[in-house]
Amino acid sequence: MAPSPPAVVPMTTPSGAAPVRAMRLLLVLAVGLLAAAVAPSPAAAQRVRITKLSDVAFGSLTNLGVDAVRNQSVCVFSQAATRGYHVTATGSAPGGSFALLSGGNQLAYDVQWSPSAGQSSGTQLSPNVTLTGLTSTATQQSCNSGPATSASLIVVLRSTTLSNARAGSYAGTLTLVIGPE
């Protein structure tokens, strides 16, 4: 009696398994790509930058009866869709207050900010308090193209403070933190 042929013919052979795996892999990739296309993508990171800051040197103040004002134009860039940003200023005196120091003596100063370049006055800043709702015209992160500057930093020593100040050389640091809006 001759042997009967096998009742079931294997669908695959060792040599035919590879195409099936490849098809499964392609299917998984296709599903993944489709999911990636359909799912909402995360918003582009909103980045900001402040540059073109210069030290503020009042020098020797001979006339203590008038306000001493120093303003500078700086570059603030915002990648936010609205180009919006906020600014927070902190001084180097105790509590972050805006004051210069000479030994144990303090010389308070005011800080103002304008979202336009070339200004000699602006919105008064308070230490550690954020000024919001600002918009930049900068089109390049360090203003190398487009507007050369986009904001004004104004530092004021008031005559009322100067006329009562102790003699001496005063110094301090003002730190500005920019955030997107």
């Binding site: 990171a45 909103q46 980045r47 900001v48 930058r49 402040i50 540059t51 073109k52 800051l53 210069s54 030290d55 503020v56 040197a57 009042f58 020098g59 020797s60 103040l61 001979t62 203590l64 001493a68 700086v74 860039f77 210069l100 000479s102 010389l107 100063y109 992160q141 930093l153 530092v155 020593l157 100067l162 006329s163 009562n164 100040a165 102790r166 003699a167 001496g168 050389s169 005063y170 110094a171 301090g172 640091t173 003002l174 730190t175 500005l176 933190v177 920019i178 955030g179 997107p180």
Partner: protein, 181 residues
Amino acid sequence: MVRKYIPSVMAALAVLASAGTAQAATQGSLGATSTGSVSISASVPNRVRISGLSDVAFTNADPSLNASNAQNVCVWSNTSTKGYRVTATGSGAANAFTLANASLTVPYTVEWSASSGQTSGTALAVGTPLTGQTSLATNSNCASGPSSSASLIVKIAATDLQTMTAATNYTGTLTLLVAPE
């Protein structure tokens, strides 16, 4: 061998030399927030101020008694010691302390005290600085803190009053120059 250490020594000297200098402005980098800083410096020179002076009027002075008028004044000095000197000049010949009516003259004396509320002090000589004075004033015109910080005393001796012509006005100006010490 010696040459080998020269660059290191020079670098160390450079670090030491820069230790006392003010920090330069720092520029922000592009990021979720961006931080920059500026150094601020100012120098306040030595300054003084005299204020709170009142005119002196000897009205119907009794020639049998010495006449004296003391007033509190404000002298402010912003030096580290709050020191000052005072120089007085009159309106008489060669800046003498004299009152006059045409050719009639009468001498007076001037005294100074570095404390308020005094009726006597150190006698001033015409044009000669009285040095080593110290002020307690904390405000340039004594608007806050002590309301006055020195005493000005003007006197006319009875013997001089007796040389004056009755019912005749003698006038003059006393000038006080205050300088920081």
